[in-house]
Symmetry: C2
Subunit: 194 residues, 2 copies
């Protein structure tokens, strides 16, 4: 067990599941659909995964780890808060861009996690959001940012970022780092000409 073949087959199952979960949603994707897409019988899936929800868990918590780590270096840097926010945004975009499908599942399907996994997931998410909120609060205190409602600001920020997996075309001309910079421009500086 734990051979390369086994792991890769399990990974294949999870990846195909992610595609179907993204396209039709977790609840509307049956294990028979998944098996069919892989060219095997539904029962065969259970040699690789314990349950349908285990797939969702590995997708959601796998992405949560990547998001958490991406922000680690940024907070302690000795740079203006607007630059911290910019780096946080770019990191967030790059994590999503590395796996757009898993990101979309992470964003849209996590509510189908059962307890206690749902609770744990939501705690990880609120923690991550609060780290961004602190950066914005710092920027307001330092006078870099206007005195805006921080809850509203952080909700606007994450709304804009997290919808990206639903429209970004990775085969297009713009790369993830540029996209992150442009999104940061728009959110930090706004649409208006100064």
């Amino acid at each position: 067990m734990l051979s390369v073949e086994h792991l890769s087959r399990k990974e294949q199952v999870i990846r195909k599941a992610a595609e179907l979960f993204r396209e039709h949603g977790y609840a509307a994707t049956s294990m028979r659909d998944l098996a069919n897409a892989l060219g095997i019988e539904a029962a065969s899936l259970y040699s690789h995964i314990k349950s349908k929800e285990e797939i969702l868990q590995s997708l959601c918590f796998g992405m949560a780890d990547l998001f958490r780590d991406s922000l680690n270096g940024v907070e302690i840097m000795d740079i203006p808060y607007s630059e911290k926010l910019r780096k946080g945004i770019i990191g967030h975009i790059q994590v999503m861009a590395k796996d757009l499908i898993a990101s979309a599942v992470f964003m849209n399907e996590h509510r189908h996690l059962s307890q206690p996994y749902l609770r744990d997931f939501l705690l990880l998410r609120i923690n991550y959001i609060n780290r961004f909120k602190k950066i914005i609060e710092g920027g307001i205190r330092s006078g870099e940012f206007r005195e805006i409602d921080t809850k509203l600001a952080v909700m606007t920020l994450f709304s804009s970022l997290n919808w990206m997996p639903n429209w970004y075309d990775p085969s297009g001309i713009i790369n993830p780092s540029d996209l992150g910079n442009q999104l940061a421009d728009m959110l930090i500086d706004g649409l208006k000409n100064k």
Copy 2:
């Protein structure tokens, strides 16, 4: 038929369905769940609606009409493009605030529409988005807005607005009109102090 009672009972069914669709998703909500929430048997639902999907259709296309109409007066006004955008944003927010539950279903569950309804729905949506895109393009031409990627701008805009039903608390202190103005501030002027 068409008595007040009949209409109101049908409306009750649709409203309760909207609540469940928002909370658990369309696919994860069974007609038994819905019947149970109403205190009746599942079969009784079919005296009021033709099918589960008919409920989703009425919710999605009902909201689509409201969004379309909310923008009608704005485009022909003789005001700066930034003001047109602001009024468009406030109108969009107010339509959502009038029915947060139906709005959430509209945003998150429309993909479960079957053809040809899904196609029609997506056409309505892209049309609505393009009307905002034209306002932004006008603002760039007039020099009011920076020379930003319009697709990116309009996606950022709608991401920020459309996530609102998922976090806005209507019993809180901020009213929909103020919320629309604050969102417009943030999107048009950005976070940064000038």
